[in-house]
Amino acid sequence: MKEIIRITLGLTVSCLIAALVMGSVFIVTDKAKRHNEHVNVQNAMLGLLGYTEAHPAPSDLRLYTVYRYIIEDGDVRTLGYMVPVTGNEAVRYQLVVMDLDGQFVDRFKLDITPEKAQEAVERASALKAVLKPPRTFVYSDSTIIARLGKKRLAYLLPGKFPGFKTFIQVILAIDPSFEIIGLEIMEHEEDPGLGAEIKQDYFKNQFKGKSFEKIKNINVTKEPLPKEYKRYLEAGKGDGTPLPKGVVDTIRSKYQDRDIYALTGATISSKAVTDGVKNIIKKFAYRMNRLDSLISEQHIPVAF
């Protein structure tokens, strides 16, 4: 009996000590982890917009995030957009609810700051405060809108779509006319040497500068990538002499409206990325136009 008590006591004490150690480490590292993750994504986004360490972003560049939720009330579905709104003193969020045809339904003020809004849990509790049961809501996606001074600079769209093996995660940057500014592959599990080449400049830079009209019907071609185009696409890399300005322009205009040249031996991955990008942009353009018209119609003082 005494032994059992001793064992239990010993285990309890060691568990407590272990929990203490782990708990304190967690508290210390959690913040750092979040911060680092945030910085990482932010850097990728800035990189897409063309800002690097050598060429830092101007101070009046602002990034605002719009979150989209699907709200269900029985059989009726509506869309809820959490949009940042400039108030008197600081940016606050509002929830704008529209029906499936883009008509205005409702509008709520949310008690949440942009910093806190980055946390899914915080958003959920803020939404719960205004959307009373039986209404339920599901997070759908988010869009980052970059604003430079008074001008809307770009939309940054995180996206995920199935690749050859598992999922490919990307961030797309498009300008207000939905022309592609840049594409970054964040995560993928394609085969090394084949599908993994989607990360290479000569593939992903092909998307740069494709107009919305082109993107809507873009396809993949199996023709080999022309040498001059490849050189152009890899120009940013630094190896090899940079192309003269005039040549760059002619090449750009020559290939601007071409389809995407598939990676040799990895047509499936190439097609997956192309279709994924096409889908994301098509859907986004459709929604953004609706949201914009709703915003101007309701005179919502959005921050972006």
Binding site: I7, S14, A18, T29, A32, K33, N36, E37
Partner: protein, 208 residues
């Protein structure tokens, strides 16, 4: 077993050579095959294992007199799991890129037989200093093993070492694939065996 009579230096080299966890004891093979594609991965995971091994060894050797023999194994597990959690959290927070590269394997350190084994046969019977040096030796042995495999695979698979382009081209993409990990480990083990064979033969010849 009485407390060890080996000097700290012997303990240290023991883990690296005689009882190398990968090539001699054939323990902790999963990362040796799974993520030994680059030298960097080897170093990172090696550091993680070194950390867990050293801290667990020291912890156990510190509290060895208070552990009830019947809950020995649960205590080891708890200790290891705690330190694995710590290193997992730390890596995730401060080295996110490397952490991502290693994937699930950092968490899986908890199931490495080598660590439990060292606790059971060494740390629970020896002083903190000896355990420390033993842990360092084992951890470094693991790290060197991982680095050796990583070196071969990175050089042959990508033509680089530690990310620096050495060959200027990618010789055999095959070595980047995890399937090649099996071949590399197998062939390196055979090389260790060969060295031992030659060494023994020489020794026998000397005796005569």
């Amino acid at each position: 077993m009485p407390a060890t009579t080996k000097t700290n230096f012997q303990l240290f080299t023991n883990g690296i050579l005689n009882e190398n966890p990968i090539f001699r004891l054939a323990l902790s093979m999963c990362p040796a095959v799974g993520i030994s594609t680059t030298v960097m991965n080897g170093i990172m995971l090696g550091i993680a294992v070194l950390f867990v091994q050293v801290f667990s060894s020291c912890t156990i050797s510190l509290i060895k007199n208070y552990i009830h023999p019947r809950i020995r194994i649960p205590t080891y597990t708890l200790t290891i799991a705690t330190w694995v959690t710590v290193i997992d959290l730390v890596l995730a927070a401060f080295l996110p890129a490397a952490y991502k590269e290693m994937g699930i394997f950092v968490k899986l350190i908890v199931a490495f037989a080598i660590i439990t084994m060292r606790l059971e046969i060494f740390a629970c019977k020896n002083s903190v200093t000896s355990s420390f040096w033993d842990g360092v030796g084992m951890g470094l042995g693991f790290m060197f093993g991982m680095m050796a495999i990583g070196f071969v695979r990175e050089l042959l698979g990508m033509g680089t070492i530690l990310g620096h382009d050495v060959l200027g081209f990618r010789p055999l993409l095959f070595f980047v694939l995890p399937a090649a990990g099996f071949f590399c480990v197998g062939i390196m083990m055979a090389m260790f065996n060969y060295v031992e064979l030659v060494y023994n033969r020489k020794k026998r010849a000397e005796k005569r």
